[in-house]
């Protein structure tokens, strides 16, 4: 495929300060860091009482924020700020499925977006273009900075994809989701996304056609791994330092793929057996494609989905998954039953890299020096759904 030349990866802009964009079950907050990334000042709440699934800064202008929101009573929407959250305007046309023709069969009944779950700014050469993933699974695109949204590609209504999306029972407890929308920095037509459930999918023609990318991935015992419906990628990330390499934290392990290979390798097999390789988030180093972090959770028996043994810890690999090292300095030593959701752990682009995570108990933690030492930035927030590290302009 034709790919524009663009240097992948790269560090933080000189003089840029990190801001943490924190989306929670009851609103959103922005935590602004000092130059040393040690002192954090809270701004917010924004949209108090709204369920905010994702808050994302447009890296192309450093000023535009999009927030995916709904409330317990009201339908989903997207809020947009062009002044870093000082003022907000609602999208004129939030993501919504096409209206079904009247009189369709039960299976052909139209779907409605319950919430927008994931926001991804498009390619650097496509200013103002964004992608959104929803629950139930849908893929949407905006070409005007998030003001109006339209279904993107044919997958939302494609009979095969609809079958692969499965039913509500095949999704997460909070509804099946389309997430991990990834844009190749070398080619705006080369995209990936994940569905829980529904697997990993790739297009190289700007969304005209999609292909499942499932080889090597496990599914829950007893299910057919050739059926995309049974695949549950929790979080997929592309290496900023090498866009041919992706990692994913899956319901059934941690995986890496090196394109053009179409086979995932279970690099989580090298995790300690007592900890396992189940979790939600997947975090990658901004320039070193061999470095990645995970935050394991208990996926045994009835799937408690909390820190293994009540002792939270991150694990890092520096050799592309051949080995993993525990990073728990500063984290609670016992009786801390956290969950860190798939969007709630991230890395900044500083040197050394700073890690950040938000917990289901409403704590925001920073892992300085690439996770070597953890410190709590904030307590008593609502349940945290997403944390993004951004560099406002």
């Amino acid at each position: 495929m034709a790919r524009a030349k663009r240097k992948p990866g790269g560090g933080a802009r000189k003089g840029a300060r990190t801001a943490l964009l924190v989306a929670t079950r009851k609103g959103a907050w922005i935590f602004r860091g000092d130059a040393a990334r040690k002192v954090w000042k809270a701004e917010g709440p924004h949209f108090l009482g709204h369920i905010v699934n994702h808050l994302v800064l447009d890296p192309r202008d450093g000023r535009t924020l999009l927030a995916a929101a709904k409330t317990g009573h009201l339908g989903p929407t997207v809020f947009r700020s062009t002044d870093l959250g000082r003022t907000w305007k609602e999208a004129a046309k939030p993501p919504a499925f096409a209206k079904a023709p009247p009189g369709g069969s039960e299976g052909a009944k139209g779907r409605s977006v319950d919430h927008t779950f994931w926001l991804t700014p498009a390619h650097a050469n496509e200013p103002g273009v964004w992608y959104a993933g929803t629950s139930p699974q849908g893929l949407f695109r905006s070409e005007d900075g998030g003001v109006t949204w339209a279904p993107f590609s044919a997958i939302n209504d494609d009979p095969t994809y609809r079958e692969w999306m499965g039913t509500v029972q095949d999704g997460t407890p909070d509804g099946p989701k389309l997430h991990s929308i990834i844009v190749d920095p070398r080619d705006p037509r080369h995209l990936y996304f994940g569905m829980s459930g529904g697997g990993v999918h790739e297009t190289t023609d700007g969304g005209r056609t999609w292909t499942p990318l499932l080889k090597g991935l496990e599914v829950v015992e007893g299910f057919d791994k050739s059926t995309p419906t049974f695949h549950d990628p929790h979080c997929i990330r592309m290496c900023p330092g090498n866009p041919d390499r992706l990692y994913q934290q899956n319901h059934c392990g941690i995986y890496r793929i090196d394109r053009p290979s179409d086979a995932w390798v279970r690099v989580g097999a090298a995790m300690p057996k007592k900890v396992g390789d189940i979790g939600f988030p997947m975090v990658l180093h901004p320039s070193d494609p061999d470095a990645a972090w995970v935050f394991p959770m208990d996926g045994s028996t009835v799937w408690p989905r909390v820190s293994v043994g009540g002792v939270p810890c991150a694990y890092v690999t520096r050799d592309a998954g051949k080995s993993w090292r525990r990073l728990d300095a500063g984290l609670p030593r016992a009786q801390a039953w956290w969950t860190v959701k798939r969007q709630a752990m991230t890395a900044d682009r500083g040197s050394p890299v700073g890690l950040y995570l938000g917990t289901t108990q409403g704590e925001l933690w920073a892992g300085a020096n690439e996770g070597a030492r953890w410190a709590c930035i904030a307590r008593h927030l609502p349940e945290i759904y997403a944390v993004e590290a951004a560099e406002p302009g």
Binding site: G72, H73, L74, G75, T77, A96, F97, A98, G110, S112
Partner: protein
């Protein structure tokens, strides 16, 4: 006619009681959306279904059909149903 707006939708209307017109509930909601852009989609989904936790009452009776006819003297109350913590 007068329409009572529930708390979660007052960021759109800025007041609890507003004026809107329509020969049916659907037309009334469309008129509300013209006056207060975006308010309809928070109440009615893209398949024209009332959202799960929004309720419409006409003259004190709960209504589930958007084609319910309205008269100018009718009173419409939009209510937020319980939706948990």
């Amino acid at each position: 006619m007068k329409v009572l707006i529930p708390g979660p939708l007052r960021p759109y209307t800025k007041k609890r009681l507003v004026e809107a017109e329509g020969a049916t509930l659907a037309e009334l909601v469309a008129d509300l959306d013209r006056r207060f852009p975006g308010i309809r989609f928070r109440m009615i989904d893209e398949q024209d279904r009332m959202r799960r936790h929004i309720r419409f009452f006409v003259n004190g009776e709960q209504e589930f059909a958007l084609d319910r006819a309205l008269a100018p003297a009718d009173s419409v109350v939009i209510v937020q149903a319980l939706s948990g913590g």
